[in-house]
């Protein structure tokens, strides 16, 4: 049993790696359309990554080992986190793979290292980015934990695999409060992947950037790794949102036909979600930094309401 699960998890992880750049481009494409541009091809992110890999790596005189290990730690943490989120098929969890708190803290490992690498070269842009990133992540943390606690309460499990399996068998009709959790998860997705209105993934202006500020000193294959890991983060969180709120098609027993249908359904759902994120981003201006806690308060509110509903029912 366990070798099969390992095999499936590895394939799952490789699939996530393969589609992650596509999702980034898709969102860019949607944003371009809403702004009346044609936008780059949806395979642009792949070619950018390929180009970066073939560029030389620059390190600052002042930078230490942190700068050098950060890209690898980032990608390692994201790859392990990718094992935790099933895309189309839910195996039986083993040895705590899929633990939702561990999942959250794997994301935190990547963030911790990235923030330190922002400070490493001594550039004030990097420091600005790290400072903002750590502040935002501190303020969003209570919300994230409450959302996860609400999920744990609804599905009576701490494991993402169990949650997705339960959601797939019970359906949205059985747990309507998932819609509220979905809103909170969406806000967390926006924040964690540094998107408008919290951060802007496309600019390099010192007033707006957070994530881009931290990785400003990175170059070459290191930058490619960091770009890929932020794409992975996006994909993983999207898959989590999709499979918990709209698990239609996710299978718990392995059949070829089921797998094909599940894959197609997942593709459709993720394209819709990419569109939603793109439109959401285009319809908003970047928020003033100190207004952001208000946004989190909303997510916090929805997830607390969910818990209260669940508690009282």
């Amino acid at each position: 049993m366990i070798p099969e699960v390992i095999l499936y998890c590895s394939i799952n992880m490789l699939c996530i790696v393969a589609i992650a750049p596509l999702f980034v481009s898709l969102i860019r494409k949607v944003k371009a359309w809403t702004q009346g541009r044609r936008g780059p091809s949806i395979f642009q992110t792949y070619s950018s990554l390929a180009k970066l890999v073939r560029k030389e790596v620059l390190y600052s005189h002042d930078s230490s080992r942190i700068m050098r290990v950060t890209p690898w730690v980032n990608i390692a943490a994201m790859l392990v986190a990718a094992l935790f989120v099933p895309l189309v098929f839910v195996p039986v969890p083993f040895e705590g793979i899929g633990n939702i708190i561990l999942f959250l803290y794997l994301m935190a490992v990547a963030k911790f290292f990235t923030a330190l690498s922002g400070l490493d070269a001594g550039s004030s842009f990097g420091g600005m980015g790290s400072s903002r990133e750590m502040s935002i992540s501190a303020v969003i943390e209570p919300t994230t934990i409450i959302v996860f606690a609400a999920l744990a309460l609804v599905f009576k499990s701490l494991n993402i695999f169990d949650m997705v399996a339960a959601s797939a068998t019970e359906g949205l009709a059985h747990n309507p409060e998932l819609i509220l959790i979905g809103i909170s998860l969406f806000i967390i997705l926006i924040v964690e992947t540094s998107r408008i209105p919290v951060d802007n993934p496309e600019t390099h202006l010192e007033l707006t950037m957070i994530h881009e500020g931290m990785i400003l000193e990175q170059s070459g294959r290191n930058l490619a790794l960091l770009e890929l890991s932020s794409a992975l983060r996006l994909t993983i969180l999207m898959a989590l949102l999709i499979n918990i709120v709209a698990p239609l098609g996710v299978i718990t027993t392995l059949t070829v036909a089921g797998l094909a249908i599940a894959a197609i359904l997942f593709a459709v759902k993720s394209i819709i979600l990419c569109g939603a994120i793109g439109i959401f981003e285009s319809s908003m201006a970047k928020m003033r930094f100190f207004k952001i806690p208000g946004l989190f308060a909303m997510a916090f509110f929805f997830s607390t309401i969910t818990i209260i509903i669940e508690v009282l029912s």
Binding site: S64, G96, L116, V139, T144, I146, L153
Partner: protein, 648 residues
């Protein structure tokens, strides 16, 4: 057998106390090293004894001295006390290795002998507090521990700052003893015994009173908000190995006291649990919020200790709540979390204090803003500090994560198990707990970034050098402990007889992380052959990059300070002179931002002022004239005779 090991360990500690004190006149490095060797020997023996008790069960008991019938100095070791003996032993061994070198760099000549002897006395007192079988030896050694640590804090007594810190600490620790003494006397009045094993079932009004006394006493010693002010004074003032011992171990002794009394004396009560939980959460959040703004490296670590003590209190609070509501499995998980976090925090915090001692030794400043760039100059120390920073920020796969995960599991499982009101309260607690945990990561990113990364911000840092071997070996042992406990928490807990369901296999996660790291490294190495170039940091158009361009620690924590400004209570002061009467034409002036010391201004100073006024009233009785004193004696005797006459 175990009792024998234990006693031999104690004898080694006594030799360690005696050696440097007997020859107090001689300033000899040899004797001091020998004394530290005794500490290490004792720590090895005590850890073996404690580990044997934890993993194999059983107990050991012996009586040292029967003072009077019913009043004995007797000791008993069970699994609870073994955990804390293990904490003391592990940390003090590593600290002793570190201080063989550190002490030699201190000023003070033969006073350093006193420091070594007193350190061993301090360790001995802590071991005996934990081993006490009754409240009498507990109190006796508690007071010995307080006294020894006071002398250690006052080591550098010529500095006024240190004197102030020492006195502050002494007053606070005496308050703590006072409350515990009151609790112990009340307990004796209720149960008629000084033995822990015969004190069960204090309930009702009297029980509540005893609980409040003991809770206050242990909270003051543990540094729970609002009794925490002595920590950020005492820790920066004392030598670094002493800070490591005090923060890593002594605070845990207060935790031990609380748990011991809770288990031995009280029947679990929901309100007591909620009180402990609330105190824990408040300390966790406030501690780390103050830590973020602290510029003094050791002061920051002291505030971080307050946070971690808060986390441990949270675990204890959950334990009592679950006991009171009859969820035994969850109660065990919470208690395991509290104990495990005590061990983890002891290792992490002493690691951090020792390495920051090295940093301060090398850079001659405690101010974070004047450090920087030390990772090139002190590679080993910075790697060790980094390990501690990762662990205390609760990042997997290190030990800080393992114990916080236990608390999360307890919280998450509790939400499905309790009644609605409790659930809502616990959810609130969970959210604040998560906030503290995330702020801790921000705080240590700031600290590590400002201290070790980028360019040095002062001349002394520019010329800082790596510290000698012993000052690396001690922390390195602690760091390896952090890694081992982080990778094998499940196995250790199972070995100790606490199989925790839902706990992920951290060894697997560690291997996976390493595998993914290696996997991606190999793939990219195969694909990309581009060279690496070293160049200046991009200076936004400026030609040279200077330390002044860097982001400061203060700047780093500014957003958090803005968001939580209502907690910091910053005070803006503006004063100026103007050329006209309507204050329009500005001549000169100054403005300033001050962090208000809320607890000092609204809690400590009023109490101190009241005490002072009362004392000055009482002092009028003292006029130094013999006749007056004879009059007092006469009046007292007369009063007594009358009083006894009335009673009879």
């Amino acid at each position: 057998m175990i009792a024998l090991l234990f006693v031999i360990g104690l004898i080694f500690l006594c030799i360690g106390i005696g050696l440097p004190l007997v020859t107090i006149q001689r300033d000899s490095r040899y004797l001091r090293t020998l004394s530290a060797c005794c500490t290490v020997m004792a720590s090895v023996l005590l850890s073996i004894a404690a580990a044997a008790l934890i993993f194999m069960g059983g107990s050991a008991a012996f009586t040292l001295w029967q003072i009077a019938p019913g009043i004995t100095l007797s000791f008993a070791l069970d699994r609870l006390s073994s955990v804390f003996i293990l904490i003391i032993a592990l940390v003090s061994g590593c600290v002793a290795i570190y201080s063989t070198e550190y002490v030699e760099h201190l000023e003070g000549g033969s006073r350093r002998n006193l420091l070594c002897g007193c350190t061993n006395l301090f360790i001995l007192a802590m071991v005996l507090v934990v081993a006490s079988a009754g409240t009498l030896p507990f109190l006796l050694f508690w007071e010995l521990m307080a006294g020894a640590s006071f002398f250690l804090v006052m080591y550098d007594y010529t500095t006024p700052e240190v004197r102030k810190a020492g006195i502050f600490y002494l007053v606070m620790t005496q308050f703590s003893t006072l409350f515990i003494l009151a609790g112990v006397i009340a307990l004796f009045a209720i149960t008629g015994s000084f033995e822990f094993s015969r004190m069960g079932g204090a309930a009702g009004m009297a029980g509540t009173m005893v609980f409040v006394f003991l809770f206050l006493g242990f909270s003051i010693k543990a540094g729970i908000v609002p009794f925490h002010k002595w920590l950020p004074y005492a820790h920066p003032a004392s030598p670094s190995p002493i800070s490591a011992l005090m923060s890593g171990v002594m605070l845990k002794i207060a935790i031990y006291g609380l748990i011991r009394f809770l288990i031995a004396v009280f029947t679990p009560d929901l309100l007591q649990g909620l009180l402990i939980l609330a105190a824990g959460i408040a300390s966790a959040v406030l501690g780390i919020i103050y830590a973020l703004k602290e510029r003094d490296l050791k002061g920051m670590l002291a505030f971080s200790s307050i946070e971690n003590i808060g986390i441990i209190f949270t675990g204890i609070g959950l334990y009592v709540i679950f006991q009171a509501t009859g969820h035994d499995v969850l109660a065990v998980i919470s208690l395991a979390a509290a104990l495990f976090h005590s061990l983890n925090h002891a290792l992490i915090k002493s690691l951090l204090f020792l390495t920051s001692g090295s940093v301060i030794h090398a850079s001659h400043t405690r101010d974070i803003e004047r450090m920087g760039g030390l990772s090139h100059r002190m590679p080993y120390t910075s790697a060790l500090f980094f390990c501690g920073a990762l662990a205390i920020s609760a990042l997997p796969p290190l030990n800080g994560f393992a114990s916080e995960l236990l608390i999360y599991i307890a919280f998450f499982s509790s939400i499905g198990a309790l009644d609605p009101l409790l659930k809502i309260l616990l959810i609130l607690g969970l959210a604040l707990f998560a906030l503290a945990s995330a702020l801790c990561a921000a705080c240590f990113v700031k600290t590590f970034g400002s201290v070790f990364l980028a360019q040095p911000r002062s001349e002394e840092c520019q010329s800082a050098r790596e510290v000698p071997g012993a000052m690396i070996a001690g922390p390195a042992l602690l760091a390896s402990g952090c890694v081992i406990l982080g990778l094998l928490p499940l196995q250790f807990l199972e070995l100790a007889g606490y199989p925790i369901p839902l706990f992920p296999n951290m060894l697997l996660i560690g291997i996976l992380l390493l595998a993914m790291y290696g996997f991606s490294w190999m793939i990219l190495r195969a694909v990309s052959h581009e060279p690496i170039r070293i160049c200046p940091t991009w200076g936004c158009g400026y030609v040279t990059q200077r330390p002044a361009f860097e982001y400061t620690g203060e700047g780093f924590s500014e957003p958090v300070a803005r968001i939580f400004s209502s907690i910091y209570r910053t005070q803006v002061q503006n004063e100026g002179t103007f050329a006209d009467q309507k204050n329009c034409l500005f001549l000169e002036g100054r403005g300033g931002l001050h962090l208000m010391k809320i607890f000092e201004e609204y809690l400590y100073l009023p109490i101190a002022g009241f005490t002072y006024r009362t004392a000055s009233l009482v002092s009028r009785f003292q006029n130094g004239c013999l006749d007056t004193y004879l009059l007092y004696v006469f009046c007292t005797v007369l009063g007594l005779i009358l009083f006894l006459g009335v009673i009879a």
